[in-house]
Subunit: 241 residues, 2 copies
DNA sequence: CGAGAGTTTGATAGTACTCAAATTCAGTGG
DNA sequence: CCACTGAATTTGAGTACTATCAAACTCTCG
């Protein structure tokens, strides 16, 4: 299973005391299954909750005036969703399940209480959020300044990094080509052509939706991909009280 | 003067006790003047500090493999700079002065102590940071899904909103057309053409670097601009202890 | 087997880029 | 005070990348 609880995620950053773990676990007391294409949050809807994604794949997106969609972020198990709404009365984005998913909803005031009682968790939360912001920075740079092929290559690598790959190394992105396009600022048609090109150049192989990375080095170069996760450093954080 | 201290900024979100104000003020004890084009933080440089921008205009950017630049964010007086590095050992971005500026540097461990002692400030800090993230979301959507003209229009409106305009309503963006291009994912040449087009359509007027918004309604529509600042809501925050 | 979502391919159009050069402007030194 | 300089802006011509439109194809699921 690819279930992940939030405490596990935070624990990858800093060691947690048993008490802290228990406090975080209280955010995840309720579980709610979400069907494919169902939304847990809608643009302009009144905001009260946040969510931890327990299982599945979800995404945040915005719809523009002309009806086009920009996917801002994909959410993977263990991710906190809806933090961006912290300062707003209404949601700025829609959060939808790309595949069958399970989320744990909680009131944002619970988050406030948790942080008030456990400031270290608050700092860890901020750090976690900054990691996802850096990801957003990378995405902006890709969309603003790299070719269509590079953007598709980079997104494939990102999806692979966060999806449990099969033992042969292949993985199922779980997203349609249209979704890849909406995340990278391209049309579905052009995404398809870029995938074919990557395949023709033997950087990837495709078999009915499954994708294998054939030449990781070249694919990473093609996508100007940087793995930030290797460089996380929270050594400056004060130790547990 | 366009000086702004950080406490003022936070105070626009939530009321602060005198003690909280004093604690925040301690982050700003040192001031450092920064010349135009000077950097306070470089990509891949070891990270230890964060900054509050006291005066001037600065920006964060990344340089890609081919040497092109993506501006991620402009910083205005009162903004906290460098928070994105919170979880990393090395900087992911460069922060440079667009105009003469003054910053207040402090160690990130000071930030950790501040938040540990004043959890409410921590929450406010997170909220503040989410506001800037929503801005980044908007930028991504603009770059990914809107026309060149729309992106330039949106950026002009953003710059105007955060720059003290003259009494005739005109303002000086303070950025070159090349910088506008690097922020919006366009070339300087094309930015120039879009400005001319906006001028020809009487949405803006230009006079030697100064820009006046002639038809705000149409410019906002052209840029699909949404003013998020009006919708900030922190009423759920617990009151001061 | 039929239906619908998703993918693939072809032909054409259009937006934005590249390259090159002229022009304006602010600052500097003679 | 003026020529000089480099940065920034402006304009033109040609090109390339990506979008659009349309249709065929494949796969899954009921």
């Amino acid at each position: 299973m690819s279930d992940h609880c939030f405490a596990d995620r935070i624990a990858t950053l800093i060691p947690l005391t048993a008490e802290e773990q228990a406090a975080i676990a209280r955010l995840e007391e309720r579980e709610r299954p979400i069907r494919r294409n169902a939304m847990v949050m809608r643009e302009n809807e009144r905001l009260t909750e946040m969510f931890v994604l327990k299982r599945g794949l979800m995404m945040s997106y915005m719809i523009l005036d002309d009806g086009s969609r920009q996917i801002l972020r994909f959410h993977f198990p263990g991710d906190l969703m809806g933090l961006a709404g912290l300062a707003f009365a209404k949601s700025q984005e829609t959060i939808m399940a790309v595949t069958e998913s399970v989320v744990c909803p909680f009131e944002r005031s619970h988050m406030a209480e948790l942080v008030a009682r456990h400031p270290r968790i608050g700092m860890a939360l901020m750090a976690l959020d900054q990691i996802s912001r850096v990801n957003l920075n990378d995405r902006l740079a890709a969309v603003g300044r790299t070719s269509a092929k590079a953007r598709v290559a980079a997104l494939l690598l990102e999806l692979r990094a966060r999806t449990a790959p099969a033992k042969d190394g292949s993985f199922t992105p779980g997203v349609t080509q249209e979704e890849i396009g909406d995340a990278t600022g391209l049309t579905a048609v052009h995404v398809n052509r870029m995938l074919r090109q990557l395949e023709d150049e033997k950087l990837i192989a495709r078999d009915n939706g499954r994708i294998s990375v054939v030449n990781e080095q070249r694919l990473m170069r093609a996508g100007q991909y940087i793995d930030r996760t290797a460089r996380v450093d929270l050594s400056w954080m004060p130790p547990a009280a």
